[in-house]
Structure formats: structure tokens, C-alpha cells
Symmetry: C2
Subunit: 130 residues, 2 copies
Amino acid sequence: MRSRDELRTFYHSYIDCLNGQNWSGLARFVSEIVTHNGRFLGIDGYREMLENDYRRIPDLRFEVEVLATEPPYIAARLRFNCSPQDGFLGLDFNGRSVSFCEHVFYEISGGQITSVHSIIDKAAIESQLL
Amino acid sequence: MRSRDELRTFYHSYIDCLNGQNWSGLARFVSEIVTHNGRFLGIDGYREMLENDYRRIPDLRFEVEVLATEPPYIAARLRFNCSPQDGFLGLDFNGRSVSFCEHVFYEISGGQITSVHSIIDKAAIESQLL
């Protein structure tokens, strides 16, 4: 998977997989040795992280706002409009909906995601809960 | 400026400009109508923001850890190893050095940066101040 177009197609299919909560299909996209913010998770730990996200945010949906692909990297600005349960990021939501972004860099190797570096805009969430 | 290589060269020159605090050269890279996280700053406001960053972090230095360019976008994972003064991001540093990242998406139009969306990993900083 070397071209920019291949990475774009790959990434949109990955996002469809997440939005469909199609966990049995996750291994098509995510490596067995994947790390997340420098921590080894592996495919099982990665799936657990995502399942946990959906438990904390039942209306979670990934929207790609900006995508920049340059092999071996994919960079995405993701937008979320959702209603997390209390405790997500250590915050109290009291049923409120929030809109926030996540900026993520993925490294692709052997046709799969091997490394994810993600930053969530927690300050933007906090400002909506004031 | 349409090719990936042109964007890479442009971006590294921009980072050199910031690290050199060469504010008189900033207009080569940044548009008069630049926005930052959705807020209009213009070139003067952008320069003020950067000068303020250097006041708060005298040993500030931008290091590009990951770069993904896809016209019209540049995405960068920036690394900072520095000693901010108390008050940066509302935190007390007490002279401590921290290491953290910023994930930034830039939109380029007419050969200049017209839009910046940035998220700083505040949680990583907070965990180093515990």
C-alpha cells in the first residue's frame, strides 16, 4: 500500500469499520503489534479500547474532517458530536452533547496500522461544560 | 505550491523562521487573513501569539517529529522539550522541564498558511507535573 489513493481508501474503510462497530473486521486494518500513544496494545487491546469508547459514548461516530496521507503516514482531523457518559476523560457531562476534535497520526506498515498517536481536544470539551 | 515536496520545503522553512524568531520573515509563510482554531488572527495577531509563546517559554523550540503533506494540507506532529513559565495553559511548572506534542493541520492557499487547527497534548503535560 504505497500510494496516497490507496491510503485514503484504506482509511475510509477503517472508519466505516469503526462506525459499524464491526470488531471482527478490525484485524484487516490494525496490526497485531499496534501501539497507541507509545503504549503496546496489540489488536486485542486496541479492540478493547474501542469497545470501551463505545460504552462510554453510546452515540459515538467518527467523522473525517481533514485527511492528509503521505506514505507511510495518515494524518486525520476527526470530528465528534456526541453525548459521553460521566467519567469520560475524567469529566462530568450531565447528559450534555459536545463537539470536539481529535488529531491522529497513523503509521502504516505491511498494509496495517502499526502505530497511532492521538490527541483529543480536551480543552474544547471543558469549555463547553462550563 | 502544489507538490508534496514544495509543501515540505515550505514547512521546514516556516519552522526555521519560528525557531529563529525571525518575525519580519513571517509574512512569507503566513497569510494576512490567517485563522487559528477557527478564530481570525491575521498576520499581526499570529505574530503576537508566537511572541507571547516565546515570552511564556523562553527555551521554546519546534521539532518536527512527523510530517504528512497532501496539498492543500500540511499535518505535523511537533515535539517540544522545554521549561514553560508558570501560567502556560493555566498550569504551574515550578521550573520543571516537560516534553509534549502538538498535532497541527495547516491549510495552504496562494502559497501561504491561511488556516491552522492545533491541539496541544495538555494531558501529557499534566501527567508530568503530578
